[in-house]
């Protein structure tokens, strides 16, 4: 009895120690990466390529998921609102739902699925094939050349993607509401504009920056710390997407609490 209790305490201790140790490694990774921001050499071409990959190439998937989500949201709110005779709140709830929550979270999860996985697979394969070692022998710091451009791109492009997701989501709701639910176009647009506050928009864009940072950071961290062989690459890719998705949702809760309950 006592022995099993001691074993449980030891197991719990190992778990807590492991979690703090992992957190420490990630924090050191972040600090070391960011310490390169103002120190030359700079790699504008790698940054431009990362912006293209994280931002421009994510636009189709972000746009498509957002328009369907906004459209479904409008239908749900119309149906739900009708239960207490308030179907006219569709423009306001679609706007606030997309801007405060769904736009940023959708973008975060889409980046995690599309960008985190591809960054991890790419960097892990580079590690397995000694390309990272080759970079070092060619006097190039992998954190500066591979990680910083991607993380900066995620941080800067995230808000733009969220802006697109918010707008396209609201457009989806607008199309459904005006084409099938009988809303007047001008009234719908006015209701949307009048209801949204600058705090809603700022919080949305801030979440985009945070989620873009988390998604690209996790991709780089797991990629550079992957195990050997094909299995190592696969495990790193799976772990990075899981970690990015969980951290994005946790960060979403924290940021919502900071912006709207403080």
């Amino acid at each position: 009895m006592i022995l099993s209790l001691i074993e449980s305490i030891i197991a719990l201790g190992r778990l807590v120690f492991g979690a703090f140790s992992a957190l420490g490694r990630v924090v050191i990774f972040i600090i070391t990466t960011l310490s390169h921001i103002f120190r030359p050499p700079f790699y504008p071409r790698e940054f431009a390529s990362a912006v293209m990959n994280v931002g421009y190439l994510s636009l189709p998937v972000v746009g498509i998921t957002s328009i369907f989500t906004g459209a479904a949201l409008a239908l749900q709110i119309y149906s739900g609102g009708s239960r207490f005779n308030a179907p006219e709140v569709v423009p306001q709830i679609v706007a606030i739902g997309m801007v405060r929550e769904l736009g940023p979270v959708l973008v975060g999860l889409m980046i995690a699925a599309r960008v985190t996985s591809s960054i991890t697979a790419e960097l892990a394969t580079m590690k397995v094939t000694e390309q990272i070692d080759a970079l070092i022998t060619l006097s190039t710091v992998p954190l500066k050349y591979l990680v910083l451009p991607r993380v900066l791109a995620g941080f800067l492009v995230g808000p733009i993607l969220v802006g697109v997701a918010d707008s396209v989501g609201i457009l989806g709701g607008f199309l459904v509401a005006t084409q099938t639910l009988g809303f007047n176009s001008a009234t719908y647009i006015l209701d949307t504009i009048n209801f949204l506050t600058s705090a809603d928009i700022i919080s949305s864009l801030a979440k985009g920056a945070a989620f873009g940072f988390i998604a690209t950071l996790m991709g780089c961290y797991y990629g550079l710390n992957s195990g050997r062989g094909a299995q190592g690459v696969g495990t790193a890719t799976k772990s990075s997407v899981q970690a990015a998705a969980v951290l994005i949702l946790a960060a979403n809760f924290l940021l919502t609490a900071v912006f709207f309950t403080a």
Partner: protein, 248 residues
């Protein structure tokens, strides 16, 4: 001159290097032989800072490498990796000219490309290879591109990690001859890791045998055939019986 002084390195319970002492003179071509998994690659990676030794010192031209500023000394080195380690996202010429497009050795793009094509020609590749991606090349061509990258900035010291692994005997001979020619022409100090005795015969001025984490024997190529060392004899004749266990 490269000096390894009592280098130790363990990975968990696996003691890979247990006190390696070795001196490679300036302009000399040293070949390190030994079975698979004996720590040959780990040894050269300690010089480049890719692996940090647990104990011991490494000096290059009397400068302590473990505490030296890495950027300053890495520009003196070239390295041919076992698998080539070419950057698959960039064309061949950009791989070769990688060092010449960044850092303090940075050159204008046209000049860097010109040098890359000249280095490719030097390893026997036509200029039209320059714009192809590494994935479009055969294994032998990739090795040559990797060799061209290793010599692109005219390094003082070049490391070759298993340069002929995975190549057919003819291509292996071509690569061995190229390495010998380049080392002699450039006057570079070279360390080659291999277990291919044909490579040893072509490339080496001196040979060192690494086994059980230490240098078991070191001498000239001419002395190797009658070294009197049972480890070396077993290895160079490829015998299953002897002090080197076949089950590792």
């Amino acid at each position: 001159m490269i000096t390894f002084d009592n280098i130790h390195k363990s990975f968990g319970a696996n003691n890979v290097l247990c006190g390696v002492d070795l001196i490679v003179d300036r302009g000399q071509s040293m070949v390190i032989i030994g079975g698979s998994g004996t720590g040959k690659s780990v040894l050269i990676k300690t010089v480049l800072g890719l692996v940090t030794p647990d104990n011991g010192k490494i000096f290059v031209n009397k400068q302590d490498m473990i505490h030296a500023k890495r950027d300053n000394f890495l520009s003196k080195f070239g390295m041919l990796f076992q698998g080539g380690a070419l950057f698959d996202s960039m064309p061949v010429w950009q791989n070769v000219a990688f060092r010449l497009q960044r850092g303090h050795l940075k050159l204008p793009k046209t000049k860097a490309r010109e040098i890359a094509i000249e280095k490719l020609r030097r390893v026997g590749l036509a200029p039209d290879v320059a714009d192809r991606l590494p994935a479009e090349l055969s294994g032998g061509m990739q090795k040559r591109v990797s060799l061209a990258r290793a010599i692109a900035a005219d390094p003082e010291i070049i490391f070759f990690d298993e340069p002929t692994t995975g190549l057919d005997p003819i291509m292996a001979r071509v690569i061995n001859d190229l390495i010998r020619k380049i080392v002699v022409e450039m006057g570079a100090t070279a360390i080659t890791i291999t277990h291919d005795m044909a490579s040893v015969a072509t490339i080496a001025d001196k040979v060192a045998m690494l086994h059980d984490g230490v240098i078991k024997w070191c001498g000239t190529l001419d002395d190797m055939a009658h070294s009197g060392n049972s480890h070396v004899d077993q290895f160079i004749h490829g015998r299953a019986e002897g002090p080197i266990k076949t089950l590792r």
